[in-house]
Amino acid sequence: MNVRVNEAEDPNSLTLRLGSGETLALESGARLDRLQIAYQTYGALNADRSNAILVCHALTGDQHVANDHPVTGKAGWWVSMIGPGKPIDTDRFFVICSNVVGGCMGSTGPASGNPETGEPYGTDFPVVTISDMVRAQKLLVDHLGIGTLLAVIGGSMGGMQVLAWASLFPERVFAAMPIATAAKHSAQNIAFHEVGRQAVMADPDWRRGRYRVEGARPVKGLSVARMAAHITYLSEPALQRKFGRKFQDRDAPTFSFDADFQVESYLRHQGITFVERFDANSYLYLTRAMDYFDLAADNGGSLAAAFARTKTRFCLVSFTSDWLFPTADSRQVVHALNAAGASVSFVEIESDKGHDAFLLEEPNLFATTRGFLDAAANARGVGKAGT
């Protein structure tokens, strides 16, 4: 097997390997020694080190944001957004994206070797949180010699990291752009995640998380988890437009449990391709991290307190058809930021593509991102592209 083990241990990425002296203290109280952070960068850091933008990836994303993926060979997940002349313009900005701690693409996670046993951590890996991910990213940013990031930007779980960055290290974040996200995971979202985790753990090949050691792979469980989750990333109108009740390679029902419908075939494909590149235990850990996220609870019950006296400028974006992180979630953050006196922009973009809209061709998202980042860069005196 396999590429995935190699990517977890020895990724096709830049890597930061911390010495044994530098431990990451986790929110749970556990500590991670010899932390490894896999990351990609695009563009060049300017002499003032003032043009760095950190991109935070979502649940099943990774650091390969604007280059071909080393496992799948597919284009990076945000190539439409990041590159020369694009909204996140790599001719002007230095873009960093790191695999989150708990991930499976080269940052320390359950697929990584446990230095104490030499075997993959599996479920011995400590539970990590969104703020743990952010603290790990901060170690990377420190090592890159960057003081204040020009911007931190991300959607969904990436948006949660953006909010956590702005709350934990406000002086390190000049501008923050949380997209299609929330300051806490809703009961409904926790419920969906629990379905996914149970699907993974119900697979006999999960082996209580020791599948790597025992040479098995819970592909069925993980792919069912992905199928269920994928439905939540789309909207009903998008599913209807794309598939309707159309049959897959046939003209009539087969009166069987074959994938008669195109939508079934599509979901099965989504499940199968996902397991090729993702670690089942990572899926458990990262969904858990999202479930635990509640920024108000971390600040005495007041979301506004999470952003008290912040100087960071914010731009929030939601999408009309996103029912996983609906506009009301973003609006709650906007209200808290207003109460904190923060500089905040908020736009709800009309789209019928559901939660996934943030990853797709959305001209209004591109225009908003470009306008917000350019204004932030100008305010900070970052030179224009090519100057």
Binding site: C315, R331, H335, S343, S345, F346, V347, E350, N364, F372
Partner: protein, 213 residues
């Protein structure tokens, strides 16, 4: 007050008047800021901390693309979240008549800002009066082209009505202007009744009763 002329990008006469009222380096919230023309001019030429609220998605997108801090929202619901006194000026241009609770909106404006600048169409204008008198139907004019059943304007008032409301709220009228249909100022020395007849729109600079501008 500034004697410098507003930038040429500001073409609306009410915008030019409001621009004149706003002090250098102040904190300004423009409620119903549209595509951000006024805020952008203020940010560029008066170094104000410019914030906005706009109901239309297109308007907000245009503002953010200009680099303005604007949220999608509306005057009726989104002013309540701001803490007291967080702005020097809260501007409401041609929007009061479209709010559900104009009095509450004005109160909120004067709570979160030391000053409020409000412009609104004057339903006491002679054209309105003669239209109603002669035709007996709700007036439809060049500047208010909607029919009664599809207008977003649900709370029309006259200049006199507005003055009464300001008094009820114990707001001090720092400055008032009336503009005629061509956007020219109606004689400054004239009494209220004249403004109420000749002004097509009123522009009021209010301050909290106790405040000194």
């Amino acid at each position: 007050m500034s004697t410098i002329l507003p930038p040429d990008t500001l073409v609306r006469p009410d915008h030019r008047l409001v621009w004149n009222m706003i002090g250098e380096g102040t904190r300004v919230l423009d409620v119903g800021c549209g595509d951000g023309t006024l805020l952008d001019a203020l940010a560029r030429t008066k170094n104000v901390d410019a914030r906005g609220i706009e109901i239309s998605r297109g308007g907000v997108a245009a503002c953010v693309a200009k680099g303005l801090a604007v949220i999608q929202g509306d005057a009726d619901t989104d002013l309540a979240d701001y803490p007291d006194d967080c702005f020097d000026f809260v501007v409401l241009s041609q929007t009061l008549q479209a709010t559900h609770r104009p009095r509450a909106v004005l109160e909120q404006m004067l709570r979160i800002g030391r000053n409020a600048v409000v412009s609104f169409p004057n339903f006491g204008h002679w054209r309105m009066r003669t239209h109603l008198l002669i035709h007996g139907t709700m007036p439809v004019t060049e500047h208010l082209p909607d029919t009664w059943y599809n207008t977003p304007n649900i709370h029309f008032c006259t200049i006199r009505d507005f003055v009464e409301l300001a008094e009820e709220l114990k707001a001090r009228i720092v400055r008032a202007d009336a503009l005629d249909a061509a956007g020219r100022a109606v004689g400054v020395q004239m009494p209220w009744w004249f403004w109420n007849l000749m002004g097509e729109q009123g522009i009021f600079w209010l301050a909290r009763g106790e405040a000194r501008v």
